[in-house]
């Protein structure tokens, strides 16, 4: 028996999402009536449609030969997704300059070809450019150095 693992996985994902949204709408939201639809009416309708599409995609996958998933850039995934999370966690505490330096430096290593020296140079260049454009050019109200930096006696 052949099965297209990509399509099958997509089908399962859609079924799960349909169930998740559908059950959430059914149990936690007021469905209302046809005349006055409640907040749960349309979401339940859509979840049902998603569930049906998921089932159809899954059964279609049983009739199609498998295909390759291709390479997965684990290193890239890690550094690229970590960037905005660390930026978010540090922005209000450290301020714009350190948070920018962190996100630029972290995401620079997403590529296997990055060298330490180039990453440092890129980080400095990017921070300078972003501060010039956003803080000075566009008047962004984000503080350049935050309270954590001041606690350390740095910045002002």
């Amino acid at each position: 028996m052949t099965i297209n693992s990509k399509d099958a996985a997509a089908g399962v994902l859609f079924i799960l999402l349909g169930l998740g949204f559908g059950l959430n709408a059914y149990f936690t939201l007021d469905l209302g009536t046809n005349i006055r639809m409640g907040p749960g009416y349309f979401p339940l309708l859509l979840s049902g449609a998603l569930l049906i599409l998921g089932v159809a995609i899954f059964f279609h996958a049983l009739q199609v030969p498998d295909e390759s998933w291709g390479a997965i850039p684990w290193r890239g995934l890690f550094f690229i997704l970590l960037g905005p999370i660390v930026f978010g966690a540090t922005l209000q505490g450290l301020g714009l300059v350190p948070a920018l330096a962190i996100i630029a430096f972290i995401t620079a290593f997403a590529s296997q070809r990055m060298s330490l020296l180039l990453a440092i140079a890129l980080t400095i260049g990017l921070v300078a450019f972003c501060v010039a454009v956003f803080s000075w050019g566009l008047g962004s109200p984000i503080r350049l150095f935050g309270p954590w930096m001041q606690a350390l006696g740095l910045g002002n």
Partner: protein
């Protein structure tokens, strides 16, 4: 004449020094990202959307529009010089454009693309100016049932005309619609599907979704296999096409412009479909189809005119009806909303300087693009040598500041990481992200019109079938859906996008 007066209002807005500057900036950025393979206009506009927040509405929309049609110009440079589509809509240009370059005719190939694009851009600007007022007038008569059916049509045709599995695309629309509904219900004030996150009370941030599923997922896709770009053509000399070239390109440019303008208006059509369709048409019409694939100038002129025409006419449904035809237009609607303007037929009457300013700026932008692309082609060749991995940190840093500055909300940054992962997963599963974004934008509007229509009809769903305009729109959607599922059409549909691969 109305058309002239309106364009006059538009030109006086577009010709203000600040707007000329932003138009130039937009077209410059558009050319840049068009030249760079792998970075598309959707991701770029998503990234820059928050930055435009601090600009005047007219300036910001002029700039964003410039990025979109500018990318159509830049994409052809890469296609001709290194046989890679700088932009997905230039994919067919690689076939004959690169062959021309190998025969030492890179200059004429680039000139053909630029002349075709400029002609198409000029014609498309007038088509928009002529088509917008009547469409706006029609749209003002629409009630909720008509709007609901119109959105259904837009969503269905966007699937039918796009590339890839129809079932998956439909599922992506539904997910987009559901994600669009997350947040507080406007009728009752109940938080919906927020799964306990207070930060989601105002809904999922549109820019986080767009940056995640287009920007970040695109970077990850590029990281899958890192290889050097080979640039065989170092310098481009002799840009001028010969007299025979000009003769050979005239008819294809005209046909490409008309076909592209028509396809651009259709939801889901846009630049990519237009360029593929134009190439197929030129090959069919040619007396010497065997020259195609070996440097036929018609194979550059037709598609390049078509993609630029389509990029511009796809503004028509967005400007007049407030309905996006493709993900870039969905982002433009997002830009309107960020500026506090409700996109739709009222824009033309209430903000004529904005409406006509955008349209007039397109022609101005096209003029700038010819200058940017032809004499400065050497500069773009140099840009192509910039290693791609240097751009990733820059993209990430800009997106992060941008996303944060919309609401000063840290949660939006975490959402970027989540949607980046989700977007990449969908890519791995062979699901196109464009329908999701369209659904996300249309979700709240679709529900609101559905609810209003049901209140009007006292709960009778037949209201959608009893009104002639609504019925027609739904019948067309149904027909589109039936047609794409016909086996013969399904096969043909796949072929359109893999021409001569």
């Amino acid at each position: 004449m109305d058309l002239i007066t309106n364009l006059g209002i538009g030109l006086s807005t577009a010709l203000q020094p600040a707007n000329i500057f932003y138009c130039f900036l937009g077209t410059l950025l558009g050319t840049l990202i068009g030249v760079l393979p792998g970075l598309g206009p959707t991701a770029t506009i998503a990234m820059l959307l928050p930055i435009t927040y601090s600009l005047e509405p007219v300036s910001s929309l002029i700039m964003l529009a410039g990025i979109y049609y500018g990318a159509q110009y830049g994409g052809s440079t890469t296609a001709v010089l290194i046989n890679l589509p700088g932009e997905s809509s230039s994919a067919v240009t690689t076939i004959d454009g690169y062959q021309m370059a190998r025969q030492g005719r890179a200059g004429p190939a680039l000139a053909t693309a630029a002349i075709g694009s400029f002609f198409a851009g000029t014609v498309a600007t007038f088509i928009i100016a002529a088509a917008a007022p009547p469409l706006t007038a029609v749209a003002l008569k629409f009630g909720s049932p008509e709007y609901f059916s119109l959105m259904v049509l837009a969503l269905i045709t966007s699937v039918a005309l796009a590339y890839g599995s129809i079932l998956k695309a439909l599922a992506m629309i539904v997910i987009g619609l559901l994600l669009g509904l997350v947040g507080t219900d406007i009728y009752t004030g109940t938080p919906r599907m927020t799964f306990g996150f207070l930060e989601l009370a105002d809904g999922i941030n549109f820019v986080s979704v767009a940056v995640g599923i287009f920007g970040i997922a695109e970077i990850l896709r590029n990281l899958e296999n890192e290889k050097d770009r080979e640039i065989s053509i170092k310098t481009v000399t002799n840009l001028m096409p010969t007299r025979e070239d000009l003769k050979a390109m005239a008819a294809p440019i005209l046909r490409g412009t008309l076909l592209g303008s028509a396809l651009g208006i259709l939801p889901g059509g846009g630049a990519v479909l237009a360029s593929f369709a134009a190439y197929t048409m030129e090959k069919k019409l040619s007396k010497t189809p065997e020259r195609f694939g070996h440097g036929a100038i018609e194979g550059v002129a037709g598609p390049e005119s078509a993609n630029n025409a389509a990029a511009q006419t796809s503004f028509i449904p967005m400007l007049t009806l407030g309905i996006p035809a493709n993900p870039v237009m969905a982002l433009m609607i997002g830009a309107f909303i960020i500026q506090g303007i409700v996109p739709g037929p009222n824009v033309a009457t209430e903000r004529p300087e904005l409406f006509w300013g955008i349209i007039a700026s397109m022609w101005l932008g096209n003029l700038m693009l010819v200058v940017l692309n032809l004499p400065l082609v050497g500069l773009w060749v140099r840009v192509l040598r910039v290693p791609y991995y240097i751009l990733f940190p820059a993209i990430m840093a800009f997106s992060a500041i941008g996303v944060y500055s919309i609401n000063s909300n840290i949660f939006d940054l975490y959402a970027v990481a989540v949607f980046g992962a989700v977007g990449y997963l969908f890519f791995k599963l062979g699901c196109e992200p464009a329908p999701l974004l369209l659904g996300f934008i249309l979700g709240p509007m679709l529900e609101e019109h559905l609810r209003r229509a049901m209140i009007i009809s006292r709960g009778d769903p037949m209201i959608f079938l009893n009104r002639p305009i609504s019925l027609t729109l739904l019948l067309v959607s149904l027909a589109a859906l039936v047609i794409v599922f016909l086996p013969s059409v399904a096969k043909k549909r796949e072929q359109v996008f893999v021409e001569d691969e």
